[in-house]
Symmetry: C2
Subunit: 185 residues, 2 copies
């Protein structure tokens, strides 16, 4: 049971969005810009960064929902998502993404952990300032979303199929569609 009175039918952050629409809007807009607008990092790559940070923060709802989104954008490759969570350095991803995941892992612990060597590694594999910026902000933002979801004791479905179905909707329509759908419930 959540720590505050939420609509029972909505898991994770969705129950919190229904409880407080005033904060749901900027939180959704931030996710939309970082994860679902056109950019030089693929949506799959950005969702992998979100999933990895959520996994390190041990947030079941976030790592499972964003892991399903990463797999959606990867054409269903759930194994790659698991590989990235387990040991991204040996996963079948680009060297640039490995360098960005290394930065994200530092940010998950503390922003102060990011050093010139981490940045140099990313740049050495072609990362731009904007890609480095967005990686740091995605990692920082999931340190927020994860704490928000777990700090208020929200519930999460245990069946993976519900996450796959949800990921197909959000993957196709983006994060602002969540707000629109909740407004018409």
């Amino acid at each position: 049971m959540a720590h505050i009175q939420l609509s029972e039918g909505l898991p994770g952050i969705r129950g919190l969005f229904a409880f407080r629409p005033e904060t749901a809007r900027p939180l959704s807009e931030l996710a939309q810009v970082l994860l679902h607008t056109p950019g030089t990092l693929a949506m799959a790559e950005r969702e992998l960064i979100a999933t990895y940070v959520s996994s390190r923060n041990d947030c079941y709802y976030c790592q499972t929902s964003h892991g399903a989104l990463a797999a959606y954008h990867l054409g269903g490759d759930e194994q790659l998502v698991l590989d990235v969570k387990r040991d991204f350095e040996s996963a079948a991803i680009s060297e640039k993404l490995k360098a960005l995941l290394a930065i994200a892992g530092k940010v998950q612990h503390s922003g102060k952990d990011v050093g010139p060597d981490d940045i140099a590694r990313a740049r050495g594999h072609g990362a731009t300032d904007l890609e480095i910026h967005d990686t740091v902000l995605i990692a920082a933002a999931f340190c927020m979303y994860n704490r928000y979801v777990d700090g208020l004791g929200t519930w999460a479905p245990s069946d993976l199929e519900s996450y796959r179905q949800r990921a197909a909707q959000v993957g196709a329509n983006g994060y602002l569609a969540i707000l629109a759908a909740q407004a018409t419930r």
Copy 2:
């Protein structure tokens, strides 16, 4: 020097806002709703929560700028801000705020650390669901802002007077005025 190329004149998160206006907007709107809209928690109380979490994350820019904002809303009582950062349980604040700061401190480490006892303590001192929600989200949001500011290696002024002057502007006009001011630079 910051890890990416930023406008040199703008410290902390302000340089990042100028670099990426698309994310500056939702980040500022979130701060505005949580810290600067009318509510049952005083603006000073909310800024104290932000300051305390930023202090625990060792983010100099955030704890100093929001500490200055807390002092602004407290009529200039900088000592109380220091007292809260040092040991809020013995500071001259309400029992309700102490209970909310205890929740914020848990969230700073992990959302999973918040337990029924923490919630019961806050409720016992009159905290509402909305106040508990906003406390958790303020704490979670500053775990983001702190990592964003430090993870990209931004610079921070060392003279306290500049923070006081800035706090008088933001305290009077709110967080969205930052965006408007930067847009007309």
